[in-house]
Structures are given as structure tokens and as C-alpha cells.
Amino acid sequence: MASDTVLKAAASPETVQPFAELGLKVDEYARIREILGRRPTSSELAMYSVMWSEHCSYKSSKVHLRQFGEKAPYSAALLVGIGENAGVVDVGQGYAVTFKIESHNHPSFVEPYQGAATGVGGIVRDILTMGARPIAVMDPLRFGPADAPDTRRVLPGIVAGIGGYGNCLGLPNIGGEIVFHESYSGNPLVNALCVGVMKHEQIKLAKAAGPGNLVVLFGAKTGGDGIGGVSVLASETFNATGTAKRPSVQVGDPFTEKVLIECSLEIFAEDLVVGIQDLGGAGLSCATSELASAGTGGMKVALDGVPLRDPSLSPEEILMSESQERMCAIVEPKNIKRFLQICEKWDVTATVIGEVTDGDRLVITWHGEIIVDVPPRTVAHEGPIYNRPIAKPSYVEKLASIDIKVPMPESPSEVREAILKLISSPNMADKSWVTSQYDKYVQGNTIQSQPEDSGMVRIDESTNLGVAISTDANAPWSYLNPYEGAKLALAEAARNIATAGAKPLAVTNCLNFGSPEDPGVMWQFAETVRGLADGCLEMGLPVTGGNVSFYNQTASVSILPTPIVGVLGIIQDVRERTPMAFDRAGLQLFLLGETQADFAGSEWAGIHKVIGGKTPIADLHKEMKLIDLLLEGQSIFEAAHDLSQGGLASTISEMVLKNNVGAQIKISGPSAIALFSETPGRVVVAIESFNVQLLITLAHRNGIACKNIGVTGGNDLLINDTLIALPELRKAYTETFPRLFG
């Protein structure tokens, strides 16, 4: 079939076009006609539709996300901020680190293994695109109830996909989260984070500058994968009967990506590109229009030069294809020979498909005929912006006013049973059934990984400089109070890296929500962004990038608002880090921070299906003081572990089980409050007896409550009169996942 050209489009303004099927609204289509002064060609329509989808254009979130810029704290470390493929921060010694989280939720529900695998592949290419060597990945996950049949279908596949892809790339998996809640039934969340490192001078940007420079497509050949994936899979409400959408599944080829990484790094090392962009959502439509738009504006591409896996693809399909493992580079003509040589060495297909031109039009031809002629900014950066209606849902006040009642175990046998019940619950239980499927050792720089509070990797072997990252979200809190929930997630992530001795430096985030067309969801979203921006301003941490995933709902039920916050920090000498657990008897245990009766949204409430109450109010000033204390006192801490979901009971259980060294704990007041409350801003530390005075002084100086709660040693966990032998505790903690997932 002859393709629709610009000439034809100009001559046939009345042609009816399927813009609605492609996800465009009537006024959006009208705007495209206005921009072009004619109807779009079918290829132009394809490009606009994918680029103006929620996933690519952030049309519902943009007005809110601006706050991250407007309220951004000054940070001397910020080298590249929001807007590029990933943010970059200075970590000293000439190194720059880039990191980002992205979601791949809907594809992972449709095809768990491939969806999760390609989620990892995509975020890794974002990091590579910045000029960095990817050095680690993390995977915050959310699932429906652990014993639900659909969870049993998706979880093993998702975990295998994350492992299958990341392991094959040689990227250590250094952390993540696995949380179960019924709101994720039929809509699991698969977020993937990647971190990479480079020298300052190696930073690359996605920008096509310099008329005459060549546009090179390299990596895998283009096939029919994921056509319409962006608009259909990511931006529309998913309904479970959508079999027709299944062909848009993409299959990942991690071997090709591994070779692409090494090939690109060799190209970067010889400084052979002036701009580079990965091909992710919206494929070539996105790469060409973004590169051109960020550059001088002009670009010419011969689409028939694109190497195809499936020769029957139409130009529209080639523009929309989301075939994985592809990159697009802008190369000066004098460097092209060397560029292609390196690609040949790695057996990577590379093709010059166009060049940067004067002017400000992106012109795409198909066998000599012009099929696209657009101002690239209108495709890539000037999409529609919506100020969606916002309304505070009625549940918020209703739930906040409930005076919740949770079971309050008191006798030793009740307390014992309660602890075993808590730590064997799927959210609290040992996750090594999952994490043992991930390579944590590859690259030889992993200092900490699961089950530590944060992941930590060494970035320089001679100086022992390292970075730590933690990702956190507490969706039950965000549901009750999204503003505080976001701040509390930020505080928790920052605390989780400070316990190890790393200084928080920068933030990334992945905001997983229901439909933006629901004013209640939009309120949750707006409050979340406001909370996170306020929190980051107060803590002096810039948001360097992130991702928004809307339409996470099954039928009309939205997921709990789930803002995953990732905090990255620096540690000057990884040899000095503080582990989460003590390895010997005779140490003194202290609880830093105060404990209130905070049961709203807690695990203890969740286990008993108790919903409602008021979340804690984040005190970020205090959190920062706690972080100061953790960093100042680092040399005296033999172990430090934060308190979050599951409270002290969970924290102390994890500490004694890690190295099989018991503890004797004294608590006062109601046992349930001491053990299960989730008041933020708390950490358990272990120190030598001779450092007690020093700790008390430091804590006092920082205004942090500090209380001796016991000593380490023995083969049991003894809490007042409640005794649990370590083997029994271990059994409860470790049996859950193998029992559920085989």
C-alpha cells in the first residue's frame, strides 16, 4: 500500500483519521491540524499519538511536577537535573553518578517475565544514555495478596524476568521492596531502578546539535514489538479481557543489551558522539523528535534505512515500534568511521539513518517521499497539558476520624505469638526466596545488598568511595494522608542510607497512581507531589528525575497511592560502613528516637484488617538531626538498623537472625506500642559499652531521644519475659515465601 505523504495530506484535508483509536482526544487532534496547517499524515498521527500519550507527555502530571523545580533546594552536587534521561550528581573525586526509577507495571501484568525483563532493560538504557556505566539495579515491587492465584501467576514470572535480564547484563541487584496489598490485585507494580557512574567529562546529553552531523541507529533490528504499547498498555485503563492487546508484548534480549552497553561505553570512551538517546517508549518517534527538539531543531531521517527484523512493517509501525535494545546517536562525520568500527567489533548493527539539518523541522522520508514534516518541539516538548480536576475524596476525613483499635498482646505467650505472626506475614518475612534469584556479586563492588537497609556499591577501588541507595514507599500511609506519606517515604529512604553511614545527596521517584481522570486520584497525586517537593526542600535534597505511572487500577478500584522514593547518598570509605546487624555478644543496644502509639497504616493494623486513623506527621527537622547523629557517630556504631514497617519487633528480629546472635531486650509501657508501633524517625544501634557515654552526649547534642534497650548475645530473642529461641524465630521468618511460591 502506498504510504500517506505530506503532499497527499495537504491535498486531502477531508480524510477521516483514526485519532480516537490511537488515544487522541478531539481537541488534541484539532491542535495537531492547527500546528501543521493541514491534516497530519498517518505517520505524523502515529508520532503525535504516542508522544502525546500520558506515558510520554506527562500531560496530567506536568503542572504538579513543576514543583520539583520551583521548590528545588540549591545543591552544588546537581550536574544534570530533571528533563534528561536521568539526573546526574557529583559524588566527588571527579565521579558523577546517575540514577533513576521507572515503572513497567502494565506490561508485567500481561506477560510477567518479559514485562519485568524489559522494564530492567529500559531503565538500564536510560542510565547508559547519560554516558555512564550501569553498576547496579534495584526493584521495588507490589503485588496483590500473597496467597491470591494471580499473585502466584505474576510474582514468580516477574522475579524471574528481573533476574533473567539483570543477571545476564552483569548488574548486581542491591535492593528493592516486595509488598503485598489487595489493591494491587490485577495490577502489580514493577518499578526498576538503575544507577550508573562516569567521570564528569563523560556526561552525555540527548541532543542533536550541529547541522551535518549524522543520525545513527544502532543495536537490535526493528520489529513489530510493542506497537501501540505506549498508548495502549501504559496509558489506558487496563481491562482484564484485553486479549487483543497481547501482541504488543515485547521480548527482551539481554545479550544484545549487554553487548550494546560495552559497545556504547567504548564509543563514549573515545568521545565519538555529540548526543545520544535510547529508544524506549514510543521508539523512533520519541528518539528523533526529542533529539531534534533539544538540539537546534532540524533533522532529516530516511526511515526506509532502518534495519528491520520484519520486512512487512509500515512506516507508521516503524515509528511506533518499541523493539528493545536500540540506541540513537548523533555523530560528527569525521568520527563515523571509527564509530562503525567499534560497532562491528561488538557485532552490533549500526546504520546512518539521517542527519542534523539547519532549520527547525523534523523531516522523515520513506523511499524518497516525505511522510513527516513537523516542528519537533510540538511532538516532544509541547504536548498537551491538563489541569485535571482535583477533589479530596470523602474517605480521607472519614478514615482519619476513626479511633482505631488493634490487638494489644501483653502476656509473654501473647507477645510471643504476636511476634511470630508479624514476622511470618508476607510483608515482613524473609525475602531471600526472591533475592537469591538475583546476582548480587557481579562486578565485585557490592558492599551491601538485601537484607540491609540500603544497597551500597563501591565506585573506586583505590579510594573506597561508594554510594548507597534505598527505595521506600509506605502506601497505607499515603492512602490515609498522601502529603505526609510522601514526606515519610522520603525520610525513610534517607534514614535507610544514613544507618549505613552514607550521606543523603539526591532523590529520584516513581509515582504509581490510579486514573488521573478521577479527581480523587488526582488529589492524592497533587498532595503527594506537594509533600515530596516540600520534603526535599526542607531536607536540601534535589529531585533529579523520576517517572509517573497512572491508570493503575482494575475495574474502578485504584491502587493505593504508591510514591516510591529513592534516595542516593555518598560514603567516603565503604570499609567504614555500619552493617544492619551485630555479629557478637556483649554489645549495648540503644533505641534512637521516640515511640508513640502509631498504628494507623501499620503492618500490625494491616494484619488485622484495621483501616483508618491518623498517620504520623513527618518531622523532617528531627529526621535530619537523626541523620546527623548517625553520620557523626558512625565510628562507634557496630550495627544500625532503622525501624519502619513492623516496628521494633521486626527490626530486632532481623538483627538477631542476620548473624545468629541473640539479644535481651527490655521494654516498658504497653508491649504492643513498644514493639509494633511505627513511629518514624527511629533506629536501633549497637555499640560497645565503653562508647555509651559518647553516644548519650552525641544524641543529646542532636536533640534525639536515646534509650538503652538491652544487650546482645545468647541463642534467643528475649523481650522482658518473652523468650523465642532463634531457630524458632528463623523458621517463622523464612518459611513463608517457600511455602507460598514453592
Partner: protein, 81 residues
Amino acid sequence: MAKIVVDVMLKPEILDPQGQAIGSALPRLGFSFAKSVRQGKRFEIEVEGQPTQIQLEEIGKAAETLLANPVIENFSVRVEN
């Protein structure tokens, strides 16, 4: 005793990285005959006696739910002697 064979192949439009890797290794080994290679799975299921029509249908259902992933794969069931 009969053997039921279930062949499972990736759908033609789905990328087959395995077949691709083999396809590009063959010429390096001096074999130049292949236009394309695709790799799939073969299951051999042994059953007592000649399988009944009902059994074959059951196997078809098992293939669809367990042996193959209909999202990305096609399969075929046959009796082999």
C-alpha cells in the same frame, strides 16, 4: 504406551533472541544453509495405552495453561508412535 508430543514455538512476530544467536553462529562454524533459525520447546508426554480424544483435549488444555505461554507462543499437540 503412546507418546504425545507438544511442540511450542514463539509466535512468528515475537523476537526470538535464541534462534537469532544460533542463526548468527552457524555461518561462523561454516554452515551457511540457514535462512532463519527459531528455537522452541518440545515436550514428550508418555501416557498409558492409546490416548483417547478426551485425553488429547485435556493435553491441549494443559499445553495452553502450563506448557505454552499463549501470550507469546503457539503450540501443537500430536501423537507420535
